[in-house]
Amino acid sequence: MHELAIAAALVESVAASAQAAGAARVTRVFLKLGALSGVSKEALLFCYDVATRDTLLEGSQLVIEDVPVMIYCERCCAEAILSGIQGLRCPRCGELSSRLLHGKELEIAGIEIDVIEEAEGER
């Protein structure tokens, strides 16, 4: 279950950013997940709850945006979205393409945090 290691790295990274921003807690984490990232969405969601326990992220929601594989076809001079990851072939002309534009993402897009206002904290 390699997703647990990925989830742990995700939590460590988000917690550091949240702490630096003075967050009291993290409520949502937005993740871009490419079809060619090799990470299973379901397994990652399952591991997320375990990995966030006793951290600033506890109880937060992991919002995953699926990113399909997109290539640039030199022959068609156009971008193409592929339905699978088994062959990086242009769906129009069938040519193999080594120019991958999207699909490997395993990227934290942003986070939603609760911050205690300074004025509020002083009262």
């Binding site: 062959g87 990227e107 939603e112 945090i113 911050v115």
Partner: protein, 230 residues
């Protein structure tokens, strides 16, 4: 209490990536060329490296290897027979090498005294994919006994590799391996990959691979060295 959105836009494994970039810079400064070798268990990583280490040493190159395994130091002992400097990382269950394990293992090594470093990863076609170890070239091995469609089953690993080495070529006929299909499948998941065919047993194809490694190192040194100011 106010709710805010904070833009991050960084990779989940940015910490490993950062450490890998540091290590890559150290390798470049020392002029050592690094290859990360990945494959499924039993594809022949150790056998191929035994041969490559021996032949590079015989040609006068200074070579070393770091070997990752879940348990035992059997592979390190096999590789050490070549006379190269070899060190074992026992991951104690972890299914891949991460860059901090490699960095720790290299502590105390004089990288300037090396020309080549080979990192034999844990046998696993999934998890090592994500972990940059500061290598110059990632080589994925696939033996003729494994089935032609393996690249299609593990496309992410093949996609992330720079070269593919088809191993155990001496067994190709006995295994009824369809090499044309195997090559097509590798290229369909990574059209930019370069494919080699080797037999560690007979030595066939190994000189071609070694020639490639030597060329890559020469290119690396040419691109990182400061041109003389004359």
């Amino acid at each position: 209490m106010t709710t805010r959105y904070l833009e991050i836009r960084q990779g989940v494994l940015s910490k490993n990536d950062r450490l890998a970039a540091d290590l890559r810079a150290r390798f470049a400064q020392a002029g050592v060329f690094v290859m990360n070798v990945v494959s499924s268990p039993g594809a022949g990583k150790t056998a191929l490296l035994e041969r490559v280490l021996r032949e590079l040493r015989a040609a006068g190159w200074r070579v070393a290897a770091v070997v990752g395994d879940l348990q035992t130091d059997n592979d390190a002992r096999r590789l050490a027979r070549s006379g190269a400097l070899v060190s074992q990382i026992t991951t104690d269950g972890m299914c891949h090498l991460e860059v901090d394990l490699v960095t720790d293992k290299l502590a105390g090594w004089d990288l300037n005294a090396l020309d080549f470093l080979f990192i034999e990863n844990v046998g696993n076609l999934v998890c090592p994919t994500w972990y940059d170890l500061g290598e110059d070239v990632r080589a994925v091995l696939l033996s003729v006994a494994e089935g032609e469609d393996k690249p299609l089953k593990y496309p992410v690993m093949f996609h992330s590799s720079d070269i593919a080495v088809i191993t155990k070529m001496d067994l190709a006929e006995a295994c009824e391996c369809d090499l044309t299909a195997m090559r097509e499948n590798i290229l369909s998941v990574q059209p930019a990959i370069r494919i080699f065919e080797t037999s560690a047993k007979t030595g066939a194809g190994v000189p071609v691979l070694i020639e490639f490694i030597l060329q890559q190192r020469a290119a690396k040194l040419a691109s990182t060295s400061v041109p003389p100011t004359a």
